[in-house]
């Protein structure tokens, strides 16, 4: 089937304004009759719940954490992009749009990206009004910095904790609505199923993580803002609780899963230290503004202390290969270049899986104080984890799974193919194409929540009768029974291996075969091996405790079971896409100099997968992508 993204036609500059006018409105007096269920309270979910509550809808908000403020948006460090052009350096909505389309390697829908760039400026205003303490210059105006993939300074920041400050802004807006009674909050509550009635999303089934109670909440629309899925690699920069579960359950109820193979590997993370490790820690890519990335030219220098390796014996490979963008080359390119250097035997640190990020030149030029002011918290974090002082010797970094560009397929209204199911933020596939630029995730989360869904959800609800489905509906009861059945199965296996052992095995297979470099052979092997490990999981996993109690092992087991199913789809998508683009690098498809070789003639589309049930191959639907404003071109950062 050919999918229609329902993007508006006509001049792109007017597309969102025109569309907003054409959307149906819900009468203010009727809004409270509609119940909207918002799952996830990160930037997208919290801003959506707050804005919808403020408009007068009856909102219920759910998060698995003990407080909405702990969603993983909190961990974003570097900043948020906006086309304000405050520095007068040539930025514009068009340039942000252009950079994002190009940065995503031409795999995003133009109209969605334009809208994102257009509302980016409103986000900054909104956050300032909320009391977000953005960095300011000495005259009191907002300060900006540069980020990878752009040649203008358009990134607004709050020290190294921009995500935290933006999330707390959205969290306070949400808290205000909770007080006002327009939003009801359900913390420590995990969504485990989507309830679909007559083809429309009308509820969710959740587990209360404290008592173990499984129940259904019904509503007139469901908004999923449940983040990304790169914990499928086991080790990633995501929080421990991040999972594919909510969107996977929706996919199993018929929502199409788009471009699952577009995953982002972030170049500046702290390398893995040992097998026991539970997660990888990211350091903001803003470090690349002042840090220079290098490896030794000669393999035999790799074990020498870095300060003993002479300037002539260092390979500043990003500056060498990409003189225009240098150390600020986009994430996918920087990550792959690090892998190449390490594959070439020139990596440093444990296992030879690391490259240097060196601040010596900047410290000499600007002084240690300036570097400390800009990145002090990151240097502290590095020292706490590695016991090394980044001011005295270069940091060691290595790429790590960080973000998923893929997600549930949505149209221009952010509605999935299931009417009434909206998907926001990292959980959808929309604006980042095959690679997300730095400081654009925060922008998308807040754009979707503050400035898109409040308009587009009205277009759906205006035509829907409120309160159609009651909690005793047969579909609700069936959903509860299904969730209970799965839980019973997990608790009943009583095998020999722990959940973590299984997830580690799956993650390692995914990282080695479906990670930074993928080939037909590695992907075929992964697709063969995943079902075998999955089968063993269901025969030999050991989940301690019971269902009707606080049980973290059971929570993990459920998420792991979903990763076991989803990982196969990810690998299949990667195998079908016979091209390299953005974060998806197929080793067979590259230019002689190692650059990604895109195939626009055959793959200029969104791949949206429809699940067909256990044991059946998923069906591929395509949404062709048209580029009318930015011309398809080979992406070059040289």
């Amino acid at each position: 089937m050919i999918l229609d993204g329902k993007a508006p036609t006509g001049r792109i500059e007017e597309s969102w304004d025109k569309h907003r006018f054409e959307l149906k409105l819900v009468n203010p007096a009727n809004k409270r009759k509609y119940k909207v269920l918002v799952v996830g309270t990160g930037l997208a979910g919290a801003s959506a719940a707050a804005s919808l509550g403020e408009l007068g809808y009856n909102v219920e908000a759910f998060c698995y954490q003990d407080s909405p403020r702990r969603a993983h948006s909190i961990a974003a460090q570097g900043g948020i992009n906006a086309a304000k052009n405050y520095p007068n350096d040539g930025d514009s909505i068009y340039r942000l749009f252009y950079d994002t389309i190009k940065g995503g390697d031409f795999r995003a829908r133009e109209a969605d990206v334009w809208r994102l760039a257009q509302v980016s400026n409103n986000i900054i205003d909104q956050c300032v009004a909320q009391g977000v303490p953005f960095a300011r210059d000495y005259a009191g105006y907002l300060d900006t910095r540069s980020f990878g993939g752009a040649q203008v300074s358009r990134t607004f920041y709050a020290r190294g904790q921009t995500g935290q400050q933006l999330l707390l802004g959205a969290y306070t807006a949400l808290s205000r609505q909770i007080k006002a009674g327009s939003v009801k909050l359900f913390p420590r509550t995990e969504m485990l199923d989507l309830v679909v009635v007559d083809g429309e999303a009308k509820g969710i089934t959740v587990r209360d993580l404290v008592t173990g109670e499984i129940r259904t909440h019904v509503g007139d629309a469901v908004v999923l803002a449940t983040g990304g899925y790169v914990n499928v690699f086991y080790l990633s920069t995501n929080a421990m609780g991040c999972s594919v579960t909510a969107i996977w359950k929706a996919a199993k109820k018929g929502a199409y899963f788009a471009n699952p193979c577009f995953t982002q590997i972030h170049p500046t993370c702290i390398p893995q230290a040992g097998d026991y490790q539970s997660k990888l820690t990211l350091m903001s890519e803003s470090l690349r503004n002042d840090g220079r990335v290098w490896v030794p030219k000669k393999k035999e220098d790799c074990n020498k202390p870095p300060n003993e390796i002479g300037e002539d014996d260092r390979d500043y490979y990003l500056e060498r290969k990409y003189p225009t963008f240098g150390n600020l080359a986009p994430r996918d390119i920087s990550s792959r270049a690090a892998k190449e250097a390490c594959d070439d035997g020139r990596g440093v640190g444990p296992g030879g899986r690391g490259v240097y990020l060196d601040f010596a030149a900047s410290i000499k030029r600007l002084g240690e104080n300036v570097i400390r002011e800009r990145y002090g918290n990151l240097f502290e974090m590095y020292e706490r984890i590695t016991d090394e002082d980044g001011y005295k010797q270069p940091m060691r970094i290595y790429p790590a799974p960080h973000y998923s560009m893929g997600g549930l397929w949505v149209d221009y209204n952010l509605m999935s193919n299931i009417p009434g199911l909206f998907v926001l933020g990292e959980a959808n596939f929309s604006v980042h194409g095959a690679n997300r630029l730095g400081a654009s995730a925060l922008m998308q989360g807040l754009a979707d929540g503050y400035f898109v869904i409040p308009y587009t959800i009205g277009g759906y609800l205006a035509a829907a009768k409120p309160g159609k489905v009651k909690p005793d509906h047969a579909e609700c009861l069936k959903s509860i029974a299904d969730v209970q059945e799965t839980e019973k199965k997990l608790l009943g296996v009583n095998g020999k291996r722990t959940v973590t052992e299984f997830m580690r095995e799956l993650g390692s297979l995914m990282w080695n075969n479906v990670g930074m470099g993928r080939s037909e052979a590695s992907l075929t092997e992964a697709i063969q091996k995943i079902p075998a490990i999955r089968e063993e999981f269901w025969k030999n996993v050991k989940v301690s405790g019971g269902g009707m109690e606080t049980n973290q092992q059971l929570e993990n087991a459920g998420r792991t079971a979903d990763f076991f199913e989803f990982s196969e789809l990810l690998a299949r998508d990667a195998l079908h896409r016979n091209e390299s683009c953005g974060g998806h690098f197929r080793e067979e498809y590259q230019y002689p100099d190692g650059e990604a070789k895109r195939d626009d003639a055959n793959f200029c589309y969104v791949a949206a997968w429809e699940l067909k049930g256990a044991g059946q191959e998923p069906e591929l639907h395509k949404e062709p992508l048209k580029f009318e404003n930015v011309h398809l071109a080979v992406r070059s950062y040289k």
Partner: protein
């Protein structure tokens, strides 16, 4: 805190952990052995090792709150040898590493203990009271949309920096756990001070502080008696000067006759 561990050998640690099956169940200390721990293990990774062991023995693993494991979400929370987060300066429990301990050490692990934080299970507590303080009035009432340009009001760098110092709070509740009175003054003070320092926060400043102070009492938090344990325990280095600011804002609200007044409702 134990002396710096030296070398890169592995260590065995004795863990004495508070176990409590549920809010209304009795609790007690149990002793476990953490074997083969390296200096590079984070504290929570050490707990992971112990839990994997417990599961294999057919015992219930230790329930503890954790999520980002990079010191920013504020989820992890346990008292280590009497000190919330374990006592390394500006460090959450998830960022504490085992190189700070040595082979043969005994470590006592307990949950946050405060009247406002009922125990859910083992080391996991209910910190909903902190959310309720924010819900009471910890915001600036601006609607989505219809706000002025971000640069329309210049804010002095010193004020923006001061607000940011306060805003770094991660809401973990260590300040409450460390306080002999179980007070949330540092947590509340940080929020009040952040907004009081900014022009956007002025309009509602008196109502905000009054409502938050009232909510502290209603949610079982104690009062401040200047022990400053909160500042010592805070993994983000939040300064007690923000409590001073909270007090000053509260007196201003008293003078303006705003104490006891209802905070702004949704309009």
């Amino acid at each position: 805190m134990s002396a710096q561990a030296s070398g890169h050998g592995t260590m065995n640690i004795k863990l004495i952990v508070w176990r409590q099956a549920g809010p209304d169940k009795p609790g007690n200390f149990e002793t476990y052995e953490a074997k083969g721990i390296t200096p590079h293990h984070s504290f929570l990774e050490m707990l992971d090792v112990v839990n994997e062991d417990l599961i294999k023995q057919g015992k219930d693993p230790i329930t503890f709150d954790h999520d980002c494991r990079e010191g920013i979400c504020g989820t992890c929370s346990a008292v280590v040898n009497g000190v919330p987060h374990g006592g390394q300066k500006r460090t959450t429990l998830c960022q504490l590493h085992m190189r700070k301990f040595k082979d043969g050490d005994s470590i006592y692990l307990e949950p946050w203990r405060a009247r406002a934080f009922p125990i859910i299970r083992d080391l996991m507590v209910d910190r909903g009271a902190l959310d309720r303080l924010i819900q009471a009035a910890g915001w600036i009432s601006c609607h989505t949309g219809g706000v002025p340009d971000g640069n329309s009001t210049p804010i002095a760098k010193r004020d923006a920096d001061y607000a940011m110092d306060a805003a770094e709070c991660i809401g973990c509740g260590a300040c409450v756990a460390a306080c002999p009175n179980g007070a949330a003054m540092l947590f509340g003070g940080a929020k009040v001070a952040q907004y009081a320092a900014l022009p956007q926060g002025q309009v509602e400043a008196p109502e905000r502080v009054a409502a938050m102070i009232q909510a502290m009492a209603e949610n079982g938090f104690g009062n401040c008696s200047n022990h400053y344990e909160c500042q010592a325990a805070c993994p983000k280095g939040i300064d007690v000067k923000f409590i001073t600011r909270l007090n000053r804002e509260f007196y201003k609200a008293l003078v303006l006759d705003k104490v006891g007044a209802t905070p702004p409702k949704k309009s």
